[in-house]
């Protein structure tokens, strides 16, 4: 279980860092294996900051993040990244355009699987690609610009799977994708959770959170205003902010005027 407990992040801003801004204020929630927790909030609510802290790209100012009861700061980064990996918003800038896209796999091999023989490695890659429903012929040995956004994003998930991770931080991974392909990536996350992966799904799109997640965390100005099972949050929101947010979502079959 990945657990955040009273996590706070204060940024220094302004010239010479004279002022401070609290981006995340006493956030606490947990992600169990095999479940998707969506973290919903508007821009500036601190949702990406939480993602970065879980990925240890930023240290929390106070509070602890623990994995199976162990504070993550006691775990070496090399070991930690075998358990937790992230995928980010823009698949087109996540790759170096000079190299072929499958270099992301080779880089993993150089760090973690130096002694693995070629044959075993190929089998491992094929298994990972199979898990994200990509055929090796279609994506291996290609440059990033030859692949679609959905394929690139799935390659990055496959890369994370090579490490047999337990938790995935998915920070707005489908907001750059087209409507007809984004649902495939979402369904992929749903498959992975059945294999026991815990996913922190960061999004600003409430409809996506509603579709995929078991539990939902609503953030407002760095504070958690609502936290609970997705059905409860969406059907009986307790906090005024959640209600306001839900009322502003454009819905396909009802117009705003009819709803109010």
């Amino acid at each position: 279980m990945l657990k955040l407990d009273g996590v706070t992040k204060v940024y220094r801003i302004g010239a010479f860092g004279g002022q401070t801004m609290t981006a995340v204020d006493e956030a606490g929630f947990e992600i169990k294996p095999g479940e998707v927790v969506s973290l919903i909030g508007e821009s500036g609510s601190g949702k990406s900051t939480i993602g970065k802290m879980v990925l240890r790209l930023l240290p929390p100012t106070s509070g602890t993040i623990s994995i199976d009861g162990r504070d993550v700061r006691q775990i070496g980064k090399r070991d930690y990244y075998r358990k937790v990996q992230g995928v980010f918003q823009d698949p087109f800038s996540s790759y170096n355009p000079v190299f072929k896209a499958d270099r992301v796999f080779t880089m993993i091999r150089e760090v973690y699987f130096k002694g693995v023989p070629d044959k075993e490695w190929t089998a491992k890659i094929e298994a990972a690609l199979d898990a994200v429903r990509l055929s090796p012929g279609a994506v291996l040995n290609k440059f990033p610009h030859q692949l679609s956004g959905g394929q690139l994003q799935r390659l990055l998930i496959a890369r994370a799977l090579l490490l047999d991770i337990e938790y995935l931080v998915a920070d707005e991974i489908i907001s750059m994708l087209d409507a007809s392909t984004r649902i495939d990536v979402l369904n992929l996350l749903a498959d992975l959770k059945q294999r026991g992966l815990g996913v922190l799904f960061i999004t600003h799109d409430l409809a996506l959170g509603n579709y995929i997640s078991e539990r939902t965390v609503v953030l407002h100005k760095g504070r958690i205003v609502e936290y609970g099972p997705t059905d409860a949050v969406f059907e009986q929101p307790e906090h005024a902010y959640t209600r306001k947010l839900l009322a502003s979502v454009p819905q396909l079959h009802t117009k705003w005027e009819d709803a109010s």
Partner: protein, 314 residues
């Protein structure tokens, strides 16, 4: 009819040849109508919006005509379009954050802008419109950097519509905004139409649920061609083109319990527009495709105001 677009073709020049980004699109826009233009990236929706106001250097007007209020717009000729821009056709740019001159106070910028069009600034009217979008009068004495993102967006909306254009083009103006700001912007746009500041509007977005909140008519494009055009409620509830049907059914919604139910996407990718094969451009991904799809399906009016370009729907 405010706007009539007839068989418009705009290509992009590249080293490998012409990209047929907009390939024979025809439609009309009535007085007071808001048209929502929806489609995936690369379908030609932005190209269509740009073609109506300014073609950039890479774009080439290959054929077709645009008529606004009975006058033919010289869209292929940059200099001749100048008298129409801002007065007859106006645009709200996508990046309103950087659309204003950062070195001028906003009031002075607006005055200079109007002078360049030989128009006088009607300060009372400007104040009235600022009030309408809930901006204080003193923003005119401020620099753009002093405004928040949402305020800048509203200021740009006021400037774009100041001369009461016949046609307003709003290209993806809400894609960078939060849901609550999105709602405010869409409501304001609707208010502009209802008060007669703009006669008709083209609202370009990839978000069909949002378009449905605002538009009277929705036009769905695919790979540079019109796929379907119908009143908004028809597109959402009873689409006829297979692409629209698949697109609508792949959208997750708030207020629906999914549990173990899965939505499906559309397999495959849109075709390259460099040298597209003749015939329906959706046929490689279409579950209903048959031999006849090797021929180009013409847009056919299947019911009143409902145009579909598909052999199966006609």
């Amino acid at each position: 009819m405010t706007l009539e677009v007839d068989d418009l073709r705009v290509y992009y020049r590249t080293l490998k040849g012409d990209v047929q980004a907009l390939d024979g699109v025809s439609f009309g826009l009535r007085d007071g109508e808001i048209l929502g233009l929806a489609g995936e990236s690369g379908c030609g929706k932005t190209t269509l919006g740009k073609a109506l106001i300014r073609l950039d250097g890479r774009m080439k007007h290959v054929g077709g005509s645009v008529t606004l209020d009975g006058q033919v717009l010289p869209i292929g000729e940059d200099a001749k379009m100048n008298p129409y821009r801002f007065k007859q056709v106006s645009l709200i740019p996508q990046y309103s954050m950087s659309a204003m001159n950062p070195t001028r106070k906003i009031g002075r910028m607006v005055r200079e802008l109007l002078e360049s069009r030989r128009e006088k600034l009607d300060l009372d009217e400007l104040h009235k419109r600022l009030e309408l979008v809930e901006l204080p009068k003193d923003v005119l004495g401020k620099y753009p950097i002093e405004l928040s993102g949402g305020m800048k967006q509203r200021m740009v909306m006021v400037i774009s519509t100041l001369l009461n254009p016949s046609l307003l083009i709003a290209d993806e103006i809400t894609s960078a905004l939060d849901v609550s700001t999105q709602k405010a912007v869409v409501t304001t746009l609707k208010g502009f139409r209802d008060r007669g500041f703009v006669k008709s509007m083209i609202f370009i977005t990839h978000d069909i649920s949002l378009t449905n909140q605002l538009a009277d008519t929705i036009m769905v494009m695919y790979a540079g061609k019109l796929a379907e055009k119908a009143p908004a409620s028809t597109v959402v509830n009873a689409p006829k083109h297979p692409y629209t049907q698949l697109l609508i059914s792949s959208l997750p919604e708030v207020g629906v319990r999914y549990a173990d139910k899965r939505l499906t996407g559309i397999p495959g990718n849109p075709p390259s527009l460099l040298k597209p094969e003749p015939g329906c451009r959706f046929r490689a991904r279409c579950p209903l495709a048959f031999e006849k799809c090797a021929e180009d399906p013409p847009p056919v009016e299947v019911e009143k105001d409902h145009v579909v370009a598909c052999w199966k729907a006609a």
